[in-house]
């Protein structure tokens, strides 16, 4: 019965044009690599330090993500999104959503992912504030600052897709942070 249940689930693995499955681990690796390049274009030490903090926390979160579900978690998150997009939502869908949440929570019983993502969100917010406070001198400086902010936006979007931005203790809201 369980096998049957797995069989009817839609295939949700995210594959790129070459057929490679894209995971949070791959995204984190590329994010980390780019942030390292962008760091070299920044003169301010405090911003460089904050970039390093974000990179380190993102790498750690990606590892924890692998340990606490990884691909299975991605599949469940995708199924959750698909269910929410259904036009004719029936009781069985509601029950399945509750079941998915239970399964996801069971993958991280000690709330390690919640704590790590909350810490990362807070560091991202600090880095955003620091970059916004910079006064760019050249058009290149302006571009580098924009690229950093865009990278943070895209990484946050990946965290949302991984279900790491709606964890109980991981608020990304800047309101009330200071």
């Amino acid at each position: 019965m369980a096998l049957l249940a797995i069989a009817w689930r839609p295939i949700v693995a995210e594959e790129d044009a070459s057929g490679r499955t894209i995971t949070l681990e791959i995204i984190t690796k590329n994010f980390d690599q780019n942030m390292d390049l962008l760091k070299k274009e920044i003169r301010e030490q405090n911003v460089q330090d904050l970039i390093d903090v974000v990179r380190k926390q993102a790498r750690s979160l990606s590892q924890s993500y692998l340990i606490h579900g990884g691909g299975n978690r991605d599949r469940l998150m995708q199924e959750k999104r698909d269910l929410r997009l259904k036009t004719h939502f029936i009781k069985a869908d509601q029950d399945r959503l509750i079941e998915i949440d239970k399964e996801i929570n069971a993958m991280d019983p000690n709330g390690m992912l919640s704590n790590e993502s909350a810490a990362l969100n807070s560091s991202i917010s600090d880095l955003q504030d620091a970059v916004n406070a910079l006064a760019p001198i050249t058009p290149e400086d302006k571009d580098v600052n924009r690229l950093i902010l865009q990278h943070l936006e895209f990484y946050s979007a990946a965290m949302t897709l991984a279900g790491l931005n709606d964890v109980k203790s991981g608020s990304t809201s800047k309101k009330g942070k200071k």
């Binding site: 995210e14 594959e15 790129d16 894209i22 995971t23 949070l24 791959i26 995204i27 590329n30 994010f31 690599q33 780019n34 390049l37 962008l38 274009e41 991605d74 036009t87 290149e140 571009d143 580098v144 924009r146 690229l147 865009q150 990278h151 936006e153 895209f154 990484y155 979007a157 990946a158 897709l161």
Partner: protein
């Protein structure tokens, strides 16, 4: 007797063809049936005229483009912009708002899946290594492109002035612009007839909403026919 006469008058009234007289703008008297028919003819005539203009203008624009193309190639070489690039810059300038919205929407869409998020990072990596730091700023660069094209076109005009047949070429360009303007701004009635006529017939919810003065659509299920 009086009753009978009245009956005869009623029969006369209902059996005779009714001619309702009305005066038009010029003060001439016309029947309503004739007037409705002539209005319909007038609209058909205006639509036909526009379609004819569209066909002839499109043909004339193609002719002008053909006549100007060799010099355009020359100018392109002079300014380091290929004819295709020049054409694209013009197209982008004509649709600047759509171009800006396109890149913003594209980025928003890219945030919706791991694959496209990864595509953004991969593209950014290649761009940063090549020092193309404008990557991801496309929507803001549209304005710069439009301004660049304006400068380019000013220089093209100056260059045309210096050519022996420059005046003739400039006249052709002006003619083309005039035709484009005409095509871009058709008569409102013609535009309505050609595009939106009866479009709401398939939107029962919208018609209902208008009757109720409601601004919110009904739930999707309710919308289904």
């Amino acid at each position: 007797m009086r009753v009978r006469c009245r009956l005869h008058l009623c029969v006369l009234f209902f059996c005779c063809p009714v001619l309702v007289f009305s005066q038009n703008d010029t003060g001439n008297v016309a029947t309503s049936t004739t007037s409705a028919a002539s209005n319909s003819d007038l609209i058909t005539k205006r639509i036909e005229e526009y379609k004819k203009l569209e066909a002839t203008a499109t043909q004339r624009i193609a002719e002008i483009d053909k006549m100007l193309s060799p010099s355009k190639d020359l100018i392109a070489k002079r300014f380091g912009v290929s004819p295709e690039e020049y054409h694209f810059l013009k197209l982008q300038a004509e649709n600047a708002d759509a171009a800006k919205a396109y890149f913003k929407n594209l980025r928003d869409e890219m945030k919706k899946s791991y694959v496209t998020i990864n595509d953004y990072f991969a593209g950014a990596n290649a761009a940063i290594l090549k020092n193309n730091l404008w990557y991801g700023n496309e929507e803001n660069l549209v304005d710069e492109d439009v301004s660049f094209l304006g400068k380019l076109e000013d220089e093209i005009t100056q260059h045309l002035d210096s050519l022996p047949n420059g005046a003739e070429m400039k006249a052709l360009l002006a003619e083309k612009q005039q035709l484009l303007d005409k095509l871009a701004h058709p008569d409102e009635i013609v535009l309505y007839q050609l595009t939106r006529k009866d479009w709401f017939a398939n939107r029962p919810d919208y018609m209902q909403a208008m009757q109720e003065g409601r601004s919110m659509p009904s739930a999707p299920e309710k919308n289904k026919p």
